[in-house]
Symmetry: C2
Subunit: 197 residues, 2 copies
């Protein structure tokens, strides 16, 4: 899937400018794009060339011009087609996994520190998302149904981060239990430093 369908989806709720879309993308954790200009403005041009959007150039008396894009019937049809095609699976990528795979180079303490820092970052991220949700402006939504969907979508990322926190907590607990159950195996003698080679 490319960003173009996401743009069509956002346009289905009403006309938007590139700048609008940019902010919607960058303020929503659920839309997996950074909201960078390059993609958005190029995509808008491409969509317009393909006849999927109308372009309405607005020139206020004093102020920067803005281009409002709206779905054409062809655009709505393209969106509908996509909506009814096979849905893609979600992707969860946690670079921490790769680190953990190489973590036999770490002492128990260093490993726990890594997990602790990860947990802390997750915690901060969740707080940040909640803050953003509080003062985030919302897209104009027509129907009750659409408002419900938008709300569920926007609650989801924080829930995923929280579930990751739980996973980390369980892993740390299991690791701690392992340590106490096999206390004096000379795994790695570390007192402060001296692990470097």
């Amino acid at each position: 899937m490319s960003i173009e369908f996401a743009i069509l989806a956002l346009l289905s709720s009403g006309p938007h400018s590139g700048y609008d879309l940019k902010k919607l993308f960058s303020e929503s954790e659920a839309l997996p794009w950074s909201g960078n200009n390059n993609q958005i403005y190029r995509s808008l041009v491409a969509l317009h060339r393909s006849g999927l959007t109308d372009q309405d150039i607005q020139q206020p008396a004093e102020g920067p011009a803005r281009k409002l894009y709206t779905l054409t019937p062809a655009g709505r049809e393209a969106l509908r087609e996509w909506l009814t095609s096979e849905p893609d699976l979600p992707a969860f990528r946690a670079p921490i996994f790769a680190r953990l795979i190489g973590s036999d180079l770490l002492t128990d303490e260093e490993l726990d520190q890594l997990l602790s820092r990860y947990d802390e970052e997750l915690r901060l991220k969740v707080i940040g998302l909640e803050e953003l949700a509080r003062r985030g402006r919302r897209i104009e939504l027509g129907s009750e149904r659409q408002r419900l969907i938008w709300q569920r979508i926007n609650d989801r990322p924080a829930a995923v981060y929280r579930s990751e926190q739980e996973w980390v907590a369980e892993l740390r607990w299991a690791l701690a239990r392992l340590q106490t159950s096999a206390p004096s195996l000379p795994r790695r003698q570390e007192s402060g430093e001296g692990v470097g080679r």
Copy 2:
């Protein structure tokens, strides 16, 4: 993070060939790379040029040659540095979100169908992962600790898919409740505007 660190991490458990790594990547849902040759062989060359790996060319009497890579002390040090640097947050991207944002073009029935198909795909994916886990060969792991970690990591993706299934179920339930509570409101047709309420 690039794949090179992940390769270093995998090499920390012992020598591996490009082909080995390719399979580890493509058989593990947790390692977020497809296991394509292009990246792996290029990365191995790059790592070797940087002095982070040793290359051991094996030529069996009858059989294709294979190049076994091992971490050098510099490679271990680079891995350690990465392990103790700021861990990245996980990323969850669900293209279904983008579809749902555009889903006001769908009737209640079509929307539920979309969610139902999504749920079905998630279910199949989980089954596939469990099957893969059953007959998947494992990397040689030295320590009990590392075996524990590897196991927790490999269980995680299926858990994430299952949690997504729960999210879908709750959403469908909420949508159904919405329908029954407002039974015969004329639903928006394709060109509709302002359903009000």
